[in-house]
């Protein structure tokens, strides 16, 4: 199986600006390593996809990028993650400030049990972006391609929206506070094809303003939306222990048409056991 990709060609590497520089990232839950020695860079104004089999540490990886894993008891990580040169895992870095700059959209739509308007406005209020609140909300909803569908019922509960609309609301909520990077953990896995397409279009529209890292199970999706693709897989030790590893990281074109690793090829061609 070959997947057609329809993207503009990538600018040359030296013209790309690095957002994240990740070196030897190892992530451990309790005593069980979930991810070992990941090194890669994430570039500005691109969509970077993370693909790989279930349990290979994709979620763990992107949750490291905005210190969401701090909330998991027993979690530890080693290695460095530099964001524009600064180590975000450093002791003196406030995870609240990190998450404020690096937003996240989750696998399952998780709107707050508030009105549609307040879902977007809550973060703005808390973060002190209270000037032009209605305009900001409208802009975020428009960017998330939801405005036309909800503009007449902003006061309605967010829970009255369909799943796809809820997920776009969550995206609006995340981009309303003007983050630099948006992390998305399988944002379309609970959605139907039409809603999925809406979200993919939206990534194309928005990547001139933001940088995206998107985890996906769906290879066609990665091929359609991503400029760069990282393939993670599960490695096994001698004692039956298993952990996730970065196998190959390159332009999406390369990963899907001429992967250099056999495991990547097996996976993208669907021969993966």
């Amino acid at each position: 199986m070959r997947v057609e990709t329809k993207r503009q060609p990538l600018p040359p590497r030296e013209r790309l600006q690095q957002v994240f520089d990740i070196q030897d990232l190892t992530a451990i839950y309790g005593s069980k390593p979930a991810l070992k020695d990941v090194s890669m860079g994430v570039y500005r104004n691109l969509v970077t996809a993370v693909i790989g089999p279930s349990g290979c540490g994709k979620s763990t990886f992107i949750r490291c990028l905005n210190r969401m894993n701090d909330l998991v008891p027993g979690f530890r990580q080693t290695g460095t993650i530099r964001y524009h040169g600064q180590d975000i895992a450093a002791k003196d870095v406030d995870p609240v400030a990190v998450r404020r700059t690096i937003g996240m959209v989750f696998q399952r739509p998780n709107p707050f049990p508030k009105s549609i308007f307040d879902n977007v406005a809550w973060g703005l209020r808390v973060l002190g972006m209270k000037d032009n609140l209605p305009e900001r909300v409208e802009r975020a909803l428009t960017q998330a391609a939801l405005w036309d569908e909800v503009k007449d019922r902003l006061k309605a509960s967010a829970l009255s929206l369909s799943g796809g609309q809820q997920q776009r609301l969550c995206i609006a909520r995340a981009i309303a506070v003007e983050p630099d990077v948006v992390l998305m953990d399988e944002p379309a896995s609970a959605l139907d094809p039409i809603a999925t397409q809406a979200i993919e279009l939206l990534l194309h529209e928005l990547k001139s303003e933001y940088s995206f890292v998107i985890v996906t199970h769906n290879m066609q999706q990665a091929a359609r939306v991503a400029d760069m693709t990282a393939f993670f897989s599960i490695s096994r030790g001698e004692e039956g222990d298993r952990w996730g590893e970065l196998i190959e990281y390159d332009s999406t074109e390369k990963i899907f048409t001429a992967p250099s690793d056999k495991r990547t090829e097996d996976y993208v061609t669907g021969r993966f056991g």
């Binding site: 600006q17 964001y83 524009h84 040169g85 600064q86 975000i88 450093a90 003196d92 870095v93 406030d94 609240v96 400030a97 990190v98 404020r100 700059t101 808390v126 002190g128 003007e178 983050p179 630099d180």
Partner: protein, 298 residues
């Protein structure tokens, strides 16, 4: 946001600093609340232990009180201990089968609407203040037959009933339906399935619930004031008589002006507290254990 803002991660602006201070303050308050909650328990238990321990001796448990004692007469509260045993025993004997039957009906037979209705009644019963239960039994029994351990036990049983029934309903609901179906599929009739297969699964939970209920009513004073408080000082176990009980004795002694009475009140409170803490902790432990076991089974 541009790359220049990276420094914000380390040197937060005023607003973020303020938000962080508020957050810290609130976290501190929550820590203090947690500490205070534990401290209150510590202070109360410590007060009772310190004052009660010095007076706690064999005489307290074996000797009856001496009315109008002059000088250093050895006296105890044996009558109250015996009375409490009789009352709580009688109350359990009444409430336990009653409560289990109610639970069986609610969980195994009742249609949904009836189930909710009985559940509501149990909740309301559970919410009736002890003192009101006391005057209810006063009107029901005492007015015509006078105070007695029976009357007191009825009042305690009214308080126990919703506790036992609720606890039993909860464990019955945990019994997997596959078990009932397995038995019914063998052609075993409903009643044998319920009594022979389902109920034995819940013995642990019922014991736990009953222990908690006993721990609760053993310390109840209010329902006894009007039903079983005008007792003599001799050691007596005839449930036809009004018997002295530990909580009522503590109540009366605490109202006294004599420090010697206070001392005995502390000692009795310590015994009561030890009993209650022991049974509720055991019950908790049993509950955790049987929940683990049931959890494995399903």
């Amino acid at each position: 946001m541009s790359a220049a803002d990276v420094s914000a991660l380390q040197r937060p602006n005023d607003r973020l600093r303020r938000r962080r201070v508020v957050n810290r303050g609130m976290e501190l308050l929550a820590w203090l609340a947690g500490a205070l909650g534990v401290a209150i328990l510590g202070v109360v238990v410590w007060s009772v232990a310190k004052r009660g321990a010095s007076e706690l001796n064999l005489d307290l448990l074996t000797k009856a009180p001496v009315p109008f004692a002059i000088g250093n007469v050895k006296q105890g509260l044996a009558n109250a201990f015996v009375g409490s045993l009789v009352l709580v025993g009688l109350a359990t004997a009444m409430a336990l089968p009653f409560g289990i039957l109610v639970a069986i009906y609610v969980n195994e037979f009742a249609p949904r609407a009836v189930r909710n209705g009985v559940g509501l009644v149990l909740d309301v019963l559970n919410g009736v203040p002890g003192i009101v239960v006391g005057i209810f039994v006063f009107g029901l029994v005492v007015v015509s037959h006078g105070q007695s351990a029976y009357a007191g036990a009825i009042a305690l049983a009214v308080l126990m009933l919703p506790l036992v029934a609720r606890a039993t309903i909860e464990v019955l609901a945990l019994v997997p339906n596959t078990l009932r179906e397995a038995s019914l599929a063998l052609g075993v009739p409903r009643w044998r399935t319920t009594l022979g297969i389902v109920l034995p699964q819940t013995v642990g939970g019922i014991v736990t619930g009953t222990m908690l209920a006993v721990a609760r009513v053993a310390g109840e004073t209010a329902p006894l004031l009007f039903t079983c408080s005008l007792a003599g000082t001799s050691i007596d176990s005839n449930p036809g008589h009004a018997l002295q009980t530990i909580p009522v004795a503590i109540f009366e002694l605490s109202e006294s002006a004599d420090p010697a009475d206070h001392a005995r009140a502390w000692a009795a409170a310590l015994v009561l507290l030890l009993f209650i803490l022991f049974s509720s902790l055991t019950a908790r432990w049993l509950a955790a254990r049987s929940r683990r076991k049931l959890g494995r089974a399903t």
